[in-house]
């Protein structure tokens, strides 16, 4: 096992309470920041740490913070994006459920760095019981003087609230999240203006993922440079990976970036291989929206090197033979899984979750879902496969928000790597309903 910065104490009984959390070194970063550092110094440490957004896009957090406009007399807001809904991703839930105070601590320190006096955690509505855990923890933090007026005598005030969503994947997009927090439909906004200039209620706003905000705690405690020593290249620090699908031991793991995919899937400390002794067929390393890779590109890159778990390592080879780290939703498929069925399932997800605001996404995602549904049920034609490839090229890049791209990529990748399986569905419409394609595709490495 590598170093654990976030989940170090997740197994300590009662860690969800203030006292136990505090005994285990909790809230040190708040003390350190508020008493010994200026807000700008905290921002600098986060920049030094090279922390990249853990929600999926991987944008440097420190840079995002530095974009925040600071006009006089206008409030600024920090919003925590806890609308975790990317299929395959359940790391934020684990973190909030086990260590609610870690998120609260990260939010206090980050709010101080950004000069926010009112911050919100926007949590998906289905996590209502976690909302209750968070509200309880927040009440404790208020009682202990870590929230409210004049925190630790520093003169810094902060109010922290939790707001639930109502069931919409799109609210994980930062401007949709802001709309939803304003009590509206979760339609992403047209950018520019960006939230850093005009966000919640027209004020400058930063939106960060749960894990990113939690990572601010070890960064402030140990210093950005120490944090940056962990990991590899531009992928610094640790990352929570939520492993699921046909794995022997699925769950949430904290990894040091740079370990190999092979170790992660097969290692005894990690996922312990494929469930029921089956063979690996494919994997999706970063949540449903990133490209799927066939088994021969999982542990090795196209160049024959070990594939490593990092932003760069997983995208090695570009979309031709690589994927993305994304949100860390690590989905593994065994040999009995049907790629066409799974692609249809994901397409249905995106069609269901499209907000319906812009035409390429509204019409395109639903169209792909219908074509894939036919293919999966043995009613497709050969030209449907090319049509799908065409539709997703037409959605990609033409939409208001990244949901269009997220819907297009998995379909494109499935056709790229598993075209023979799609063709088999067309050529063997009856057979394809009775059994799966298995590993029939023979790897041909170029």
């Amino acid at each position: 096992m590598g170093r654990r910065l976030l989940l170090e104490h997740d197994a300590v009984p009662g860690i969800e309470t203030f006292d136990v959390y505090r005994k285990n070194g909790g809230y040190r970063s708040v003390e350190k920041a508020l008493k010994t550092m200026s807000p700008q110094e905290v921002v600098e440490q986060v920049q030094l740490a090279g922390l990249r957004g853990r929600g999926g896009a991987g944008f440097p957090t420190g840079m995002k913070w530095s974009f925040l406009a600071k006009p006089e007399g206008v409030p600024r807001y920090l919003l925590c994006n806890a609308d975790e809904s990317e299929p395959g991703t359940f790391k934020d839930r684990y973190l909030m459920e086990k260590l609610p105070h870690l998120l609260i601590e990260g939010m206090i320190t980050s709010s101080y760095a950004l000069g926010c006096n009112l911050s919100f955690i926007y949590i998906r509505g289905e996590y209502m019981w976690i909302l209750e855990i968070l509200e309880k923890a927040i009440a404790e933090a208020y009682a202990k003087g870590f929230l409210g007026k004049n925190i630790l005598g520093s003169g810094f005030d902060l109010d922290l609230r939790v707001a639930p969503g109502g069931g919409a994947y799109i609210c994980g997009e930062e401007t949709a999240l802001i709309e939803s927090l304003e009590g509206k439909r979760g339609n992403p906004r047209i950018k520019p203006p960006f939230p850093a200039v005009k966000g919640l209620w027209g004020c400058p706003t930063v939106v960060n993922n749960v894990e990113s905000l939690a990572a601010v705690v070890p960064i402030v405690n140990d210093g950005g440079e120490e944090y940056a020593k962990i990991g590899i290249g531009k992928s610094t620090g640790t990352k929570l990976i939520s492993a699921c699908g046909n794995l022997a031991r699925p769950g949430v793991y904290e990894i040091e970036m740079g370990m190999t995919v092979e170790e992660f899937i097969y290692g005894d400390d990690w996922c312990r291989g494929i469930a029921n002794g089956k063979k690996l067929k494919a994997f999706v390393p970063g949540g449903s929206s990133v490209p799927i890779l066939p088994h021969y590109l999982v542990t090795k890159t196209a160049a024959g090197d070990d594939r490593i778990m990092s932003y760069e390592g997983l995208s090695e080879g570009g979309f031709a033979s690589g994927s993305m780290l994304g949100s860390g939703g690590f989905i593994v498929f065994d040999e009995d899984q049907c790629i066409v069925r799974n692609t249809w399932n994901f397409a249905r997800f995106y069609a269901h979750e499209s907000c319906g605001q812009c035409s390429p996404c509204r019409e395109g995602t639903a169209w792909m879902e219908k074509v894939l549904h036919r293919l999966e049920n043995g009613q497709g034609y050969m030209h449907d496969i090319d049509l799908l490839a065409e539709i997703n090229k037409k959605i990609e890049g033409n939409t208001i928000c990244p949901l269009g791209d997220a819907a297009a990529w998995p379909v494109a990748a499935a056709i790229r790597h598993f075209r023979d399986e799609f063709e088999w569905h067309v050529n063997q419409p009856i057979e394809s309903q009775k059994r799966n394609f298995g590993l029939a595709s023979v790897p041909t490495l170029v």
């Binding site: 047209i190 035409s359 390429p360 037409k394 033409n398």
Partner: protein, 319 residues
Amino acid sequence: MVKVTIDDKTIEVEPGTTILSAARQIGGEVVPPAMCFYSKLPGTGGKCRTCLVEVSQGSEKDPRPMPKLVASCSTPVMDGMVVKNTTSEKVKVGRGAVVEFLLINHPLDCPVCDQAGECHLQDLGFENGGEGTRYEEEKRTFDPVDIGNKIKLHMNRCILCYRCVAVANQLTDKRVHGVLGRGEHAEISTYIEKAIDNDFSGNMIDVCPVGALTDKTFRFKSRVWFLKPMEASCECSKCSGKTVVWMFGNEIMRVTARKDQYGEVEDQDGKTGWICNDCRFEKKDISQWNIIGPRKINRHSVISQGNYASPRQTIKKLN
């Protein structure tokens, strides 16, 4: 002032101007089509994606091109920006894609649609669309409903531009319709049977780019190309009273606001010339109007393509 070049034509505009309005200041072929943006209704735009353009140089300072096509209606120009509209192959493909998406669920019932002939979707399809359809699935359908006793909503034809929602928000004191549902199932509706009852609600018909919102007092009365548009005015306490009356012989078939070449309501006396429901729906007698003279309308529309007066131009366009 900032300098922007669109399809090799350069113009200086105020800082903060969008690419689309800069293009409109140049005029002509360089103007991207817009289905959801409506300059008289702040906050509209960005949704339909028909006005996508390529930015091949971000600005003088940062000449990098923008990675994706951008919505020209909501992207402000930067000094030294270079934009490609008709000269970009990427834009052509992207716009073609948007047209295809807008049409897959559209009923294509132009032969019975009152909007035919002045429909922006027809124009868009004619200019940027492909032949035939690749959509083999069932189209989504809705029943037509009355929203108010003078306005018919054909949700089948709607492209969800949100303009009518903006009208209700900005011109009326109380919005009773909106966009319900999500994704493919999003629809314009009042949710429960409710009349939209407001002096200015009729302007929703004028801003609707397609035949989704139509004037019930004109429904199925005539094709628009058989009518003679005449500029007219009347004394009205609610609006400017400056309208266009559409006549068949001496009979007024319908009344609309005066619209410019982009289909937007023109300014009258320094403000947008929205007209009230009395002028639009009630005054159908010629004696109630002071007829000023023939209204010149922009013959950009599909109806004029069959106009034998200039066959050469038609052929040029078709090529």
